[in-house]
Symmetry: C2
Subunit: 204 residues, 2 copies
């Protein structure tokens, strides 16, 4: 007799276990940090037995890589909504994108910040695997901003003729720095300072 | 008979124990992170018995506060050497300061970064005590940059008439963001992008 779903022993496998672990990972790494979160904490938060973790991931590092991929993919889809909106000019799209992020940070009382940035400072030195994913995602994120700037330069909405890639890279990096300062000051002022300088002094 | 130094039992107290613990704390929090470093690691690195730690500090958090104070004070003294050098114009002083920081990061293979920034992302959400120190030190650091920008605006070396405080805050925050990206990419490019944009587009 072949083994069927009904004849197997033990609890029925949960098809969503892998996703649940990753979602728990995003939440816990974001709120508590990578080092401060153990695999035990993650499986408890996901409501699965500890053994299950290693059915899906070889190590905490491999799991961290999947977590940052999932986090970035969600953030990227969110960003695309703004960057693909052809009802607005490129500069407006950029501004609306950053202003929406500020709204989200306000709702979170200026805690948490950006998991990409958090991972850069907490893990990038120690894991090439995770570092490579961060670099890859930053490039993808930067492409969105660069394309928007290029379009604005072509239409003369931006007259600054510095290379669009340079402007995009700096915009993204300075944004991460302003989020960092927001975390210390628990204030949106660094984020609005960013809006002022980027849109009045750089992307002009 | 009064108890003299020669009559006491146990090892001779090391007058430098407190300083040694703080130096070990700076090194370990910088290289491994706050959460990943236990008090056991710190006392071992400082070469002192675990009990000694609590003779000097009430908690890891109180210790973290002292560590960030010491780290910042050292960094501030270092910065002052550049900002007080009247042989150079304000813009030159600023540029030399940041270029020197890039040199130090290069020597460290783009690891470690800035402990102020690391603490912002790792601990600021969880410790008001440490967060308040970060905010205080950022203000002090920013004053240095603001005074330099004010002087340059007065002499027309900088013609951008945005408030010097806004320019200084953004300069400092964007610098932290470029360090963050340096950590991911293990490259000084984000730091030189910063130099280009700050000195060609903002402080002009």
């Amino acid at each position: 007799m072949t083994k069927t779903a009904t004849s197997r022993r033990g609890p029925r496998p949960n098809l969503y276990t892998r996703d649940n672990l990753i979602i728990a990972g995003i939440n816990m790494f974001h709120s508590v940090g990578y080092s401060a979160t153990g695999i035990k904490d993650i499986v408890e938060a996901a409501g699965v037995p500890k053994g299950s973790f290693y059915n899906y991931f070889d190590s905490k590092e491999a799991f961290g890589k999947e977590v940052i991929d999932c986090y970035f993919n969600n953030a990227f889809c969110d960003a695309k909504r703004f960057f693909d909106d052809r009802n607005h000019s490129p500069i407006e799209r950029l501004k609306f994108y950053f202003e929406n992020r500020i709204r989200v940070f306000r709702e979170n009382s200026y805690d948490l910040g950006c998991l990409m940035g958090n991972f850069c400072l907490e893990i990038a030195d120690h894991s090439k695997q995770i570092r490579d994913r961060l670099t890859f995602h930053f490039k993808t994120w930067c492409n969105l901003i660069e394309n928007c700037i290029l379009e604005a330069q072509k239409s003369q909405e931006i007259k600054n003729n510095s290379p669009a890639r340079l402007l995009a890279e700096f915009t993204l990096n300075s944004w991460e720095g302003c989020i960092l300062r927001m975390r210390a000051d628990k204030s949106e002022k660094p984020l609005y300072d960013f809006i002022k300088i980027i849109f009045n002094n750089i992307l002009t």
